[in-house]
């Protein structure tokens, strides 16, 4: 494809520009992919280099260090203690003690069981005294996986801390050699509210994220490679174990297997993904443009009671979604108010199938989502519209632009530029918009071809509600849910990556400072 | 009241851009030093490193003989005035000025004394109960200075303090800073991009470009003996005319031959050239606009040119001239030296002749830009 210079590009017409950009984007894909692999390769290379440098530095520290340093390799914090940094030394020592204690007591067991996820399942034991058979629970796959992961985290933390311990010794030797005093425990504590204040501030939030987000995500990603489900709960019935890529094979296979309903998992996944993307697209852009439209209507010069109109819309944000969504869903039901009203007016004879017909249902959720979403977008658009410099419009009017041209040439580009990142997050957010779908339809109406053992799949089900149904369904196929989750992640990540690269400019966060 | 010493100071940002290269400078006690240079030359970065607001990548900074590299700003005993004043918007003027004293846990009586005293000096007593929002630019500037003043710190740092003011106010505040300096009698480090401020305020001026010190010297030194073309052009307004020409030596005398004219390098400059043993050959000749004078037609030292633009500045005329080979020159002519008739006459396209004396000439190496005598 011909490449234009920047100036030649300016000569193109609007449509040509767009086609050219699109073309450039697609012809750029192979290069981007190659670039991605180059980046990965370079990252690995530099990673290896870093590790090599670290090892070399550790060795050098050991060779050139004094006896205090050398002993610190074994007894963490010894160097600090010997040089008078009691607080640091004790913390290092304590950490090492806790680590060794943990590894000896339980960590070693979890780690050793991690490759098998448990060897002995529950066994029946005959109790002679009571003359009953009781179940004795042995290994627990769930705990093995969970604590195994935790132990791996702990080991990484230990290696890092040990490395810090070595570094500290090297640094302390250097400082002492230059004749300066080392930092005391008091200095350390003081620096936690000053130059190291960020560590204090981040400690709590990051611990929370690590334990309640990172750990569960790692765990669930690993579950995708096991057969963890209701019949293999790893404890009271059967253990679960590693199955490799089998679950991905099941999910992405076009063969009709038992348990998948009347069609293959891949077909079901494809259908739901298509609807999810369609839904996210319509949900995002209908809200975006209609919200902008309403904002412009309210903000128009000469419109009175601006505050009242705005407040009426904003009011709907305040009311918890579960109330409004559940209520509205019932309003649209076969025997709901809407059908009742329409029939009593004599406009229709039979109830409209808002939730019964697949197309009607899909259309209705998008419609109701507009009702939910416009107030937010109205607020956002109002804020941005007020920020557009008035002289842009004045200048456009002098240049002879009519209102429609002003909208397409000034308002819209400005909005799109400013809200580009918001649109992206809103799109991915809608892909995972559990609340609206689940509370409105619960996925209904049922799609008989797709419904199998993995829960009943409906025409309005998104991937995220499907995932929920799989886990809460009769067989609790956690491994399949996990596979779906990973696939959702991949889709979201791909979309984000593409859109970010297409955005006019990835804004530098410092621009706003 | 302290000396500040920077040794091999270097600043490299995360993106591997070096903004300050091997900066060496000793600032004496009670000296008023000005860092000046175009934007992005690293002057602010250097100041912020002294303040402790930027990490020092390499080298050391000493205040009063103590290395302060690892000290937090609060432990360096410095005061600073920021370009945008950085007044705390939620505090009254009084609280703004008292902020640092309260952090020191000074008794309120003493704080009151100091704050009102500073306010009086700066003429902002009546605004003490106001919030910064209700002040004008000049008043905010005073509050910012007052906030720095009450601290009696060792070093007083100012980062382009006047650049947000309009021209008139700027001149006024400049004079006030000179007065303030006499009252406080402490070490000042002042950053500006404006050479007029630098010349009028500084005991010594540090001229920087791309993170490198181009010259350090008193205002007189940098004006009369610029080390290179950059300094020569940066100091003085309008900037120095640069003429590519030849330096000729004949019979123990140096001559320059700009645009076919032939001007002797007489007086001190000539002697200095001889002393330095400067080789004849192509040079860049620098002459300040105020040192060029109109000459009668036909002299051997007269350079013919045409007027392109005539700017009437009131007390003087700035004539933008173009020579036969399209070199552009600027000449400052005091209005008083011209008769009304002459003034009428100096319009677009007027042919005239200019010349200059040997003692006002600056000689630079055309390649390196270095001053052939002082560089």
């Amino acid at each position: 494809m011909t490449k234009y210079s920047d100036l030649e590009f300016l000569k193109l017409r609007g449509g040509q520009k767009f086609l050219y950009r699109l073309g450039r984007f697609f012809t750029g894909i192979p290069k981007a992919i190659a670039g991605f692999f180059v980046t990965v390769f370079n990252a690995i290379k530099s990673g290896c280099k870093t590790v090599g440098n670290e090892i070399a530095d550790i060795a050098a520290t050991f060779i050139h260090g004094d006896w205090k340093t050398k002993l610190s390799f074994l007894v963490m914090g010894f160097g600090n203690l010997a040089r008078g940094q009691i607080l640091r030394g004790l913390l290092f020592l304590l950490f090492e003690a806790v680590f060794i204690g943990y590894m000896v007591l339980t960590g070693g067991y979890w780690l050793s069981m991690l490759p098998s996820l448990g060897k002995v399942g529950p066994t029946k034991v005959y109790d002679e005294i009571l003359d009953v058979e009781t179940t004795q629970y042995n290994d627990n796959s769930f705990k093995i996986l969970l604590y195994g992961v935790l132990t791996v985290f702990f080991i990484i933390a230990f290696i890092y801390t040990w490395r810090q311990n070595v570094k500290q010794n090297k640094l302390a030797e250097k400082i002492l050699a230059s004749g300066k005093p080392l930092k005391s425990g008091k200095d350390d504590l003081r620096s936690l509210v000053d130059d190291q204040f960020h560590k204090t501030l981040l400690a709590l939030p990051l611990t929370g994220i690590l334990v309640f987000t990172v750990l569960p995500i790692v765990f669930m990603v690993l579950v995708a490679f096991t057969n963890y489900d209701g019949t293999h709960n790893g404890y009271s019935n059967n253990l679960f174990t590693w199955v490799g890529m089998e679950n991905f094979n099941t999910m992405l296979n076009w063969e009709v297997k038992s348990g998948a309903g009347r069609q293959s998992y891949a077909a079901t996944f494809g259908e739901i993904l298509t609807w999810t993307l369609m839904w996210a697209f319509f949900a995002t852009f209908t809200n975006y443009f209609l919200g902008m439209f309403v904002a412009m209507a309210i903000n128009k010069k000469g419109i009175k009671l601006k505050k009242v109109w705005r407040t009426i819309l904003v009011l709907t944000i305040a009311i918890p979604q579960f109330i409004s969504l559940l209520y509205v869903s019932k309003m649209f039901a076969k025997n709901g108010i809407l059908n009742g009203f329409l029939m009593s007016m004599g406009w229709i004879k039979t109830a409209l199938p808002f939730w019964e017909d697949p197309t009607w249902a899909r259309f209705t959720v998008i419609l109701i989502n507009i009702w939910i979403g416009i107030p937010y977008l109205m607020l956002i658009a109002t804020g941005i519209l007020m920020n557009i410099p008035a002289d842009l419009y004045e200048s456009a009017r002098i240049d002879g632009a009519n209102p429609w041209q002003q909208y397409t040439k000034i308002t819209l580009p400005y909005m799109l530029f400013v809200t580009g990142p918001y649109l992206l997050t809103s799109f991915t957010g809608n892909m995972n918009n559990f609340n609206v779908i689940y509370l409105l339809t619960g996925g209904a109406p049922t799609n008989p071809a797709a419904s199998g053992a993995a829960g009943s799949v409906g025409y309005t089900d998104l991937l995220i509600t499907w995932l929920f149904k799989i886990t809460t369904g009769p067989e609790s196929q956690y491994y399949l849910a996990s596979v779906v989750g990973i696939l959702v992640f991949i889709v979201v990540a791909l979309i984000s990556l593409i859109v970010y690269n297409l955005l006019p400019s990835i804004k530098n966060e410092e621009d706003f400072q | 009241m302290a000396s500040v010493k920077l040794t091999d100071v270097k600043k490299v940002y995360d993106n591997h851009v070096t903004t300050v290269h091997d900066f060496n400078l000793e600032i004496k006690d009670k000296e008023f030093i000005v860092f000046v240079g175009p934007s992005g030359c690293g002057k602010s970065t250097t100041l912020r490193m002294i303040a402790g607001l930027e990490d020092i990548t390499e080298g050391t900074i000493e205040i009063d003989g103590v290395v302060v590299n690892d000290l937090q700003p609060k432990d360096r005993d410095i005061a600073m005035v920021f370009q945008n004043y950085a007044l705390y918007p939620h505090m009254t003027v009084y609280d703004n000025i008292a902020f640092s004293l309260r952090l020191q846990k000074m008794p309120e009586d003493e704080i009151y004394e100091k704050v009102t005293n500073a306010a009086e000096i700066l003429g902002i007593t009546e605004y003490l109960t106001r919030k910064p929002r209700a002040l004008s630019g000049g008043q905010r500037q005073r509050v910012a200075i007052g906030r720095a003043m009450v601290r009696n710190s060792k070093v007083f740092l100012m980062d382009e303090p006047l650049s947000n003011l309009d021209a008139k106010l700027r001149n006024q505040m400049r004079a006030e800073i000179i007065l303030l300096r006499q009252k406080l009698n402490t070490t000042f480090i002042y950053v500006t991009h404006d050479q007029t401020e630098a010349m009028t305020l500084g005991d010594r001026i540090v001229i920087m470009r791309d993170g490198i010190i181009e010259q350090v010297g008193t205002p007189m030194e940098v004006f009369e003996k610029p080390h290179n073309i950059f300094v020569a052009e940066f100091i003085g307004a309008p900037k120095m005319n640069m003429i590519k020409t030849n330096l000729v030596k004949e019979g123990g005398c140096y001559y320059v031959t700009p645009f076919g004219a032939r001007i002797e390098v007489d007086g001190e400059k000539g002697e200095e050239l001889i002393q330095k043993g400067v080789k004849p050959g192509p040079v860049t000749l620098g002459v300040r606009p105020e040192h060029m004078v109109l000459a009668p037609e036909g002299g051997q030292d007269a350079i013919p040119c045409k007027i392109e633009v005539n700017e009437m500045m009131g007390s003087e005329l700035h004539l933008h001239l173009v020579t036969e080979d399209e070199t552009r020159l600027i000449v400052r002519v005091p209005t008083i030296e011209l008769s009304a008739q002459q003034r009428e006459h100096l319009g677009f396209g007027t042919q005239l002749y200019i010349t200059f004396k040997g003692k006002v000439m600056h000689f630079f190496d055309s390649e390196s830009g270095k001053n052939l005598i002082y560089g």
Partner: protein, 298 residues
């Protein structure tokens, strides 16, 4: 031509055009008013319906009309014979604790990421961005098992819920970071030069200036758990005493309950909506600021 005629001519033509402009503007404005009224009605109708139906006495199921034939507060009285008060208290406690702790965590996180430049800052932000691309639903399975091991599910769901709500709240730092980014950095620097530690800078300079974003964060942190459904349902797992209002009310709309409890749902919904709506209306200004700022900064 007389002077008067001249004057007339000069003023007449623009007058006419002016009238035309004015007429078309009036037309445009009228149609906008009509539109806005229609929109307002559409947006308010469900809420008006729900309030009206909560006062319906003659039947408890779903009916095809809105205005009750017989008015009364029976439904509200009946609410107190159910577990509803318990759900309400559960919701309130969860929302209150979450509002406090989530605000603290979010402010810590966003302030740090806005103001400090440390080596791991960019990688950390990128890492959190990637984490946020995983559906949060996925983590529920394990969180449920872990919490149930800790005894924090079903009847004890409230503390468990609070833990889940606040634990990962650091991820939602964008909006308030955007706010902190707009506060000039030189304020921090001036204070540090004036002798303040980083902690004092936060306490004495930044926090007093952060009222809008603190209120926004508290408000959203309160509203989240107040209307949360998914996590609450998962963690209470069918145990009525551990449910929050959303889960409890949802169950009343089940196929086998709806005929008995539809008006009950309406009454409960009204009671749940009132406090949060009042709160929201009072603090609307801050909410609007936060939402707009957040979207612009992405």
């Amino acid at each position: 031509m007389s002077e008067k005629q001249l004057l007339d001519r000069s003023s007449d033509a623009p007058m006419k055009r002016h009238m035309g402009l004015k007429a078309s503007r009036t037309l445009a404005n009228t149609s906008i008013y009509v539109l806005l009224v229609v929109i307002s009605v559409i947006w308010l109708i469900p809420f008006i319906c729900i309030v009206l139906q909560s006062f319906r006495v003659e039947s408890t199921g779903q009916v095809g009309y809105v205005i009750p034939q017989q008015w009364g507060v029976d439904n509200y009285q009946r609410l107190f014979q159910t577990d509803f008060p318990r759900w309400y208290v559960n919701t309130f406690i969860a929302a209150l604790f979450t509002a406090v702790f989530q605000t603290i965590i979010v402010l810590c996180m966003s302030y740090t990421l806005s103001r400090f430049r440390f080596k791991m800052r960019k990688p950390l932000m990128r890492f959190m961005l990637i984490l946020s691309m995983f559906p949060g639903m996925l983590t529920m399975i394990i969180l449920y098992r872990v919490l149930s091991d800790l005894g924090l599910t079903q009847a004890n769901a409230v503390p468990g819920l609070i833990l889940v709500y606040i634990a990962s709240s650091g991820m939602g730092y964008y909006v308030s970071k955007g706010f902190f980014d707009t506060l000039p950095k030189s304020l921090d620097e001036a204070a540090r030069v004036d002798g303040a530690t980083r902690f004092q800078v936060l306490k004495k300079i930044i926090l007093p200036l952060s009222k809008p974003i603190v209120i926004y964060t508290v408000l959203t942190a309160f509203m989240g758990p107040w209307g949360d459904f998914v996590f609450a349902r998962y963690i209470s797992f069918g145990t009525s005493s551990g449910m929050n209002a959303a889960v409890g009310l949802y169950n009343w709309l089940n196929r086998d309950q709806i005929e008995k409890s539809y008006t009950l749902f309406c009454a409960g919904g009204v009671l749940v909506a009132i406090p949060v709506t009042v709160l929201f209306m009072c603090l609307q200004k801050y909410y609007v600021e936060g939402v707009t700022g957040g979207a612009v900064k992405g």
